[in-house]
Symmetry: D3
Subunit: 341 residues, 6 copies
């Protein structure tokens, strides 16, 4: 059972019930999540051994977050306890033509204000760590976090750990210029890079040639161009691009492509009536790392990772709580939504 | 900030949770609404200054209704307090092929039994009122309300206030013959008339020529004919027709047309996965009055009013709690339901 | 008002709220149901007089189940009280590409362990019983239940009662071989047999000719072949086949065909955004028996039974709580999901 | 199993969750009840056969009320269906020094507007009715209801049915003068009269002598005086007086006395931490009638009726859903609130 | 109708349902409150005209807070909009021997980081302001808030506005030394000072003589000594001391004393089964200011203010949502918790 | 950090909300617990390292139970997965004079049907186990469980592990005769025995002398006699007796005594307004083992264990989720239920 270390913020998410707007709510559902923790939850359900590295306050709200990681079998022994606040975000479910809204209240969080010395990467990466996962969200939080990410990625690289990074640009946290600069410094440590075409363009100016763009859509050749540019620019080994088209807040198309060793594979394209979108990209990352660990073929890998992402849309909350068997069945075309009885 | 006076009943709506039938319910969600109050809520969010004129009992249930208007910034200083009951309706959400059901319990309400002398329109319309909004629901409630509507409309007309009326025929409240007669006496005071083709036919016998009807659908020319007949018959300045096609209880098409000064504009047609239909027509009215006040072009106006109606379908409860910016974005084709983060 | 006796287990169903997975749930919604009780609920709403025959423990949970039958006017005077457990099942609502999950906890239930002598069929069938309904679920529960089903069916046959059986194969309860053997012994007592093409194949090896199969679909001629084989093999008078195609957990196509006296009728085909699938097949059975009792034509009968099934998808819980009028309207194409106000 | 007919309004009660005030509520819990129906619910649980006679609208809200009676095994075959509204009341739970509040919305209800000819008492009282129960609430609702009560009581008397009446004066429904006059006309038909000392004073001017009043409390001799005056004035056979002292909204003392054949018995006095007070007086009435039917001694009867009332304070909603065994245990001093496991 | 200006933070309070601990919660109830806003809510219900002055972010969570003030009729026209965060606190209800827990997350809030120039006191205090209310909580939040409080108090003083301050020391926000120093600078501007004996001791070293202390209790003479020292030290006109004894988390004794013009009055002492303690001290302040405005006698004033505080314990959430009539009744000994029907 | 192994069933508890009776419930709250797991939860919060040994099915309901143990940091690596059912019990909260009701549905559970060979005690007790905890509930479940308990206790004894047993007689699971016989065979392996006077009498015929019984109460000398007899009979080292007096379902007195080395200590006596009684005895056991491990004095130990039990009454659900600090404060008389802010 391969050991994975994931690193990032772990947040409390507060969501009004049903489709209530923030102004209507008289209660919030409490969930806990965070891009990298979601990856850890996904990988744990696939049978890998995951440690989550973050910083959480010692008070009862921080403890509740800590418990949630334990509940789903994610390793918590490397978590640093301290700081004042848990990063919080408010999520209003969109419906139909109305978008979901996120209000961040994560500034001054224990994680964003963590110090470089809070994390001892030699201890964290013990002998047997095989994968290290981080995303572009942490370095967006503070200068300290930029340093921490660099140090962690460097240490991982030195130890021969496979490094996976989901670029995950968040416009509410930093601007494209700073993000582009910082991520350009981090990606050279990365083996597996997950990105979408919009972020490739906004952060790195990477765009396909004119002839491969067809209105809102990019042709297969265009995606290959994007991958090639990322490979060349950052020397990553594998690039995954997730492709989402939003029909409405509850109705998306989703597919993905994977590029490695000059080979490329596209997944099927799914139409998804959405329960909860948050965490689906992270489920993709989990599915991808699992596929790599299982030495799946490029096509099998992109189908499995995509199926993992698709099923995550059906789960309330951030954690992608599907079983490996459900994902395999969908990837193999055997899951059709029939009641199992 | 233009001042608007809207007039009508303000009701308590009791709804079983989720898709429960009345016979299954062990609790009701409480919402408050009413066609004209919904218009006021919509206009208030667009930045206009709205006073709502109604009659509410002094007891705690009446006070809760009163508070809900205050909560969303609607002016309550002209509300008359008294009477025994608050008009109530029970709403069972339909799903799929099963229709939503409404059970009215509004008879003997404080509003329906209000007296003509309860409302002093000179005080209500103070110097600066620019728009007066009423609908065909109030005069359906009692003979007193017919008198009150006439007096209000007449006073508004005398003061040069722009009068807007949504015909809003309700078959559970009166028959087409009485409704046709009374509305024919009221519409001559009206500047902006909102109606649909079914009510135009049922109340006034206004139908397009045979050649402009295509099965269940009416061609553009047919809608122009309907508008022309309304204009001629009642001397209104502007006619808006809302066009809805019901696929299922949760799935409707919606569009609209607007006709004024011998010009006509059609909005885009939306397909809407519905959260809550109630109040969407009122959101259209709000969007239309706002557009008039902002001196939008005919096409911009019908697109804005339609976008306002479309977004109201995504809101639980009667009040159309969208922001002006959300509506503008949808009207401009920029809102696509993507999560904002 | 024709009297119907239905016989089967009555279970408690525990369902996490919304789309929560079992592992996320902190509460269960309680519903009660069971294939045959669902038929009884449906028939009672259509105006027939139904007695439900089952065995329930005397403790408060058993009493709550008993009360639920009373609540909807189902006759409870023939229910045997005793035993230790009420059959229970846990139901996790699926969404999108994720299937609903059922965890059965019905072993050792009072009903499954009932004795042959618990039920006095002469008393149960009193003089005026016109229909007897059972399904293939009860004999799957225990050997005792096989004996009980045989005795009941035999007694009913002797009295000239019309016997209706929904084959309802459940793979979690028995295997196809045993099910095929037992059902083959029971169906000769049956007048009206409801089945789908998958169970016909799995239990009895009944399949249409190669040329009438088109990929996943069976042509009309194929369905006729299936019916003819069932008719010949078991000498039933009427065969109904329900046809479901699952697009996703929330989105199914549903139609049905009916075959009797060498005549055949197909219903319209509906696309259904699903609220709760459980009990829809039972609503079909109720609609079919009602149609037989009302001497509807074959086409009217299949349309009514199908409309009954379709509307049951919109109801939370197992009981198909639609009115006869709603079903007639849908069967006649007059119900379109518009709000009734 | 003695047959009982109870007669009165059956209402929907809407209650904010927990201790919310009406102005805070966003949902209502739905319960159904009414003084006389509560008696029927209590008697049914004690094993008597009860028919409830009332009038309920045919719409779905009326049907839900009807179902609730069926659910608990109360006979519904004599219920008249028709009228527009179901009587409704809003109940705000008090706490500590804040009183519970009731807002009635029962005017114009189907029951209050029922006609004398709606009820055929000869059919209702069939051969075997042994007890008839009504209260002073129904005649408070309308002049029709006064006539109906008189006719019913008279018919019952003629047939030798034991008539039980709880005086139950409600100051929000009528004044003491009218109540006194009407109840004085009705009580001569009554065999068992339940009253408290406050109503005896307000309606009939019946007060104990000065020397038997000790501050807020009445001495035993005083209660005997009250009973004697009622016996003499109205020729009833048995008088029960319930004695409540309110410490706070959640904390009451409760006891009772019973007087018959010149004998008197006092129950123990209980201190009760209250869950829901509504219906506790009705539980007393049920316990009293059951005791009479079981030919309990005067002391046993008052202890059983009091225990029934005490336990009803622990039940959410109006119906006193205790078992006969629980009441007997408490009456016998064997119930002490220990967990049964 | 006298105009009151209250000034302070307005916070979101998140509370687990029932008696759940933070670690158990899967949802939070949302309430809004703050010591000074609670005073405003109380005064508004007593009929005074209150403006609340605070700073709230413009985002939807800030807007929801804003709406809550509007809902209860509190003036919002002087509220400054801006900043990043709304002050938040988490509240875990205690029960029995377990204390309620508060986790503050109010650092970096818009209010705590407000600038001196955000508030124009000349505009805020317009001509007719009669009372200004602030507490010792605001200056505990930041140095800016100390300056703001001083400026406000000074301006109020200059205008002859009656200034009321509840000392309200919060040990989680600052230490006693700093609090003592700052409050000593602020109290000289104050006319009405509310404090308890613990804070008098901790902040100002004010203690009664030895002979007036009896174990945990202070004798009347001791309270007079405390008042006299406060009067002398800060030249306030009126001192109110609230006296609470905690038996358990749900069970407190509460009384108060009032001292002015060398006269003193003690209220009755209440035992209170608590629903929600938060806001009860603020309800006392509201009751006191109302009493001053109504020129009640010292005894009437302390009884009214105490009754206001007592009833606030029965209200869920921070706002003391009692009516003036309920308070008067309790103060006059006429409220006894009996159901009003 | 001492290692503890606790062994027993882990059950799902289903509870109607609030004070609803089973017959009223439309939902169940889900909690997980079991006497021995509750001890483990308590000890884990006190900082000991606890492994829970049980058997749970692999399906999702079993997994949810497993997750709950992980969530609170209880070791799950020794849990056996398999079997069909999770033991279930239904719990109806009592109130006032109405007792809580438990309906067990634990027969045929995976745990009750576990085999002796399912548990390898040598592996389970690894080198460093210091305490082993079991109760009299497991051997009540099946003959297998008697064997398992014997084997475990014997193995523990051999390894010098301190064995703790709470006698915990459950009359719904076995009779006193069988319980007396089996427990007499098990107690000789036990070092610390927890019991109450009722079970000592029912199972072992151990009663104090006549002169030490005073009505319902036993004098101190009586308790000493009981302890002495247990010590002599079973050679245990320490006996703890918990003493509960039930005033009502929500109101109990609780205290305890501890006897060891011919010394005895009595705790204070608490009056407890109860939130949830279940698990309070287990919290006592946890507190006792912790005290032993901390080498507290006899008096400190009984005060700490009692405080742990008292606080557990304030926690919803079975697990005693208090902190060690809260317990110490209460034991030291410093916790008084005041809000911490």
């Amino acid at each position: 059972m391969a050991r994975v270390v994931t690193f990032g913020e772990f947040m409390m998410r507060l969501t009004p019930p049903g489709y209530q707007r923030f102004e209507q709510a008289t209660s919030f559902e409490i969930q806990f999540g965070g891009a990298e923790a979601n990856v850890a939850a996904g990988l744990t359900r696939m049978g890998l051994s995951c440690d989550y590295v973050t910083k959480l306050p010692v008070h009862a709200i921080g403890q509740a977050a800590f418990n949630e990681l334990r509940r789903y079998g994610i390793g918590t022994s490397k978590i640093v306890r301290g700081g004042e606040r848990i990063g919080t975000y408010y999520m209003e479910r969109g419906a139909a033509q109305r978008s979901s809204q996120v209000v961040y209240d994560r500034k001054y969080s224990a994680f964003s204000q963590a110090l470089v010395e809070d994390f001892n990467w030699d201890t964290i990466f013990e002998d047997d760590t095989k994968y290290f996962v981080f995303t572009g969200i942490s370095p967006a939080l503070s200068d300290n976090q930029v340093e921490i990410a660099k140090k962690a990625a460097q240490k991982a690289k030195e130890r021969g750990i496979t490094v996976c990074c989901d670029v995950n640009y968040r416009s509410k946290l930093w601007d494209t210029q700073k993000a582009g600069k910082i991520m350009s410094e981090l990606l050279p440590y990365v083996d597996i890079c997950i990105i979408n075409e919009e972020h490739a363009k906004l952060l790195f100016g990477i765009v396909p040639s004119h002839e491969f763009i067809d209105g809102d859509n990019i042709k297969e050749e265009g995606y290959i161009q994007i991958c090639n540019q990322i490979l060349e620019k950052f020397k990553v080994k594998t690039v995954a691009i997730t492709i989402r088209r939003t029909i409405s807040a509850n109705d998306n198309y989703f597919s993905a492509m994977l590029y490695s060793n000059a080979q490329m594979a596209f997944s099927r394209r799914y139409r998804i009536p959405i329960v909860d979108r948050i965490g689906s990209g992270d489920a993709f990352a989990a599915g991808l790392i699992y596929s790599v660990d299982q030495r799946k073929s490029l096509l099998e890998a992109v189908e499995f990772a995509t199926a993992s992402a698709v099923l995550a849309h059906s789960i309330e909350g951030d954690f992608p709580l599907n079983s490996c068997e459900e994902i395999e069945n969908l990837a193999n075309g055997m899951q059709n939504g029939r009641t199992q009885r």
